[in-house]
């Protein structure tokens, strides 16, 4: 099963879509390396947070991806 990527805010503009299915990858780095370089650079931005299956992860490099995971890339928030 592929992974589902969710791009929010300005990341959606860069990706050109809000969601994307990608082939399973061994690591976050490998996954990002398979994307367009400008999108990968934006997703690696130090203010971008990552949620996997609805939970924020502190260190994306430490994660193990599993089939069907949903990875959401979250830029700085602005509510109210």
């Amino acid at each position: 099963m592929p992974l589902k990527l969710v791009f929010i805010g300005r990341l959606e503009d860069i990706a050109g879509e809000g969601e994307r299915q990608v082939a399973a990858a061994a690591s976050l780095d490998q996954l990002l390396d398979g994307l367009e370089s400008d999108l990968a650079a934006a997703l690696r931005g130090d203010r971008v947070r990552l949620a996997i299956n609805g939970r924020i992860v502190a260190d994306g490099n430490a994660i193990v991806l599993e089939d069907g995971d949903e990875l959401a890339f979250l830029p700085p928030v602005s509510g109210g």
């Binding site: 929010i8 830029p75 700085p76």
Partner: protein
């Protein structure tokens, strides 16, 4: 006390919501409320708020629970819009009911400061026909740090 936390995709009547909340909090000596709306002027034609389903509403509920732990409240209302809004539309309504006014003021302000800088919302606005994403301002983080 049960807090009332809602994420809604349609416009809402802030006056009616506040009236209903007030009626339900008859034992409160004071109710403090804040209404945020899309400002007119400044060239903004449309404002849109996005959210991320798995995080946004659960995060708002956690925020309400934190306010309830911190102040003795008799009621807490938190309504936040998502979707497309026009100038004059309400964006957020927060109201806190307590026996004494300071608790009500503080809880409402605490909730707003965290909604602005920490809750899972992303805002963009259209001006001159062009959309742009709004980044948080430094003052929003300073407002939140007051509560640390």
């Amino acid at each position: 006390m049960a807090s009332d936390v809602r994420l809604i995709a349609q416009s809402f009547d802030a006056g009616a919501e506040l009236a209903a909340f007030t009626e339900a909090a008859a034992e409160a000596g004071g109710i403090a409320s804040f209404l945020g709306q899309v400002r007119s002027g400044g060239g903004v034609e449309v404002l849109e708020l996005r959210h991320y389903e798995p995080l946004t509403l659960p995060g708002m509920r956690d925020l309400a629970a934190a306010a309830e732990r911190r102040w003795p409240l008799l009621g807490l209302l938190m309504i936040h819009r998502v979707g497309v809004m026009l100038p004059g539309d309400p964006i957020v309504l927060v109201a806190a009911a307590a026996r004494h006014r300071r608790d009500a003021f503080a809880a409402a302000e605490f909730a707003m400061d965290h909604l602005k800088s920490e809750s899972w919302f992303w805002k963009r606005e259209k001006a001159g026909g062009v959309w742009s994403w709004i980044e948080p301002r430094e003052v929003d983080f300073e407002d939140k740090r007051r509560w640390a």
